[in-house]
């Protein structure tokens, strides 16, 4: 919880600094917001570590192969990073770059999740064969 208050203060300080820099040096202001986003996201990811361990233990309980849980985690990571990067691109006035990144993230997500779909298809075929 303490981390949340720290993050809030950090983001507010970064916003004020960015607003000050926006009048003169827009490039450095953008870098400042990138750094603030990276720092806050990094601290949030540290909190996510136990959650991820819990997800892995849930997968063990349900006897789901670890590679499939890994796929889900990767998709989560790609989603968070791409959303963050897209927002930064949009803030800097390059919304089209952000859209391209979103497209790339979607493509990578589909590529990564292919084993899951294959597994699901095999499962359905197995069930249909048993009928």
């Amino acid at each position: 919880m303490n981390l949340f208050w720290k993050s809030t203060a950090f983001v507010l300080a970064a916003t004020i600094a960015k607003l000050t820099l926006d009048k003169g040096e827009k490039d450095i202001a953008l870098l400042l917001s990138v750094f603030a986003c990276a720092a806050v996201a990094g601290s949030a990811f540290l909190l996510l570590e136990p959650v991820m361990e819990f997800l892995l233990s849930l997968g063990d309980l349900g006897q789901i192969p670890e590679q499939f849980i890994g796929v889900l985690m990767k998709i989560l990571g790609i989603g968070i990073l791409s959303e963050l990067s897209q927002s930064i691109c949009a803030d800097s006035g390059n919304a089209s770059l952000g859209k391209a990144l979103q497209l790339a993230a979607t493509a990578v997500t589909m590529y990564i999740s292919l084993p899951l779909f294959r597994w699901f298809l095999e499962l359905i075929q197995e069930i249909m064969g048993q009928l």
Binding site: A36, A39, E49, L76
Partner: protein, 64 residues
């Protein structure tokens, strides 16, 4: 949270901005451009490690 880095970046930005204004007003546009470019590179060098740290954290956390 490294809030001092935020203040460092803000300070560099303000200094570069002032230098830029002074040089531009005294008719040295090229030097003003080079100053802002130098400031940008300095801040970029400061941030490169932090961004790399974030990517490493994401790689280990989400099992890439």
């Amino acid at each position: 949270m490294e809030i001092d880095l935020i203040f460092k970046i803000a300070a560099i930005g303000i200094i570069v901005s002032i230098l830029n204004q002074v040089l531009a007003r005294s008719g040295r546009e090229e030097q003003a451009t080079m100053t802002s470019l130098a400031g940008l590179v300095v801040v970029l060098m400061m941030l490169a490690n932090k961004i790399a740290e974030l990517f490493d954290l994401v790689k280990t956390l989400f099992q890439f």
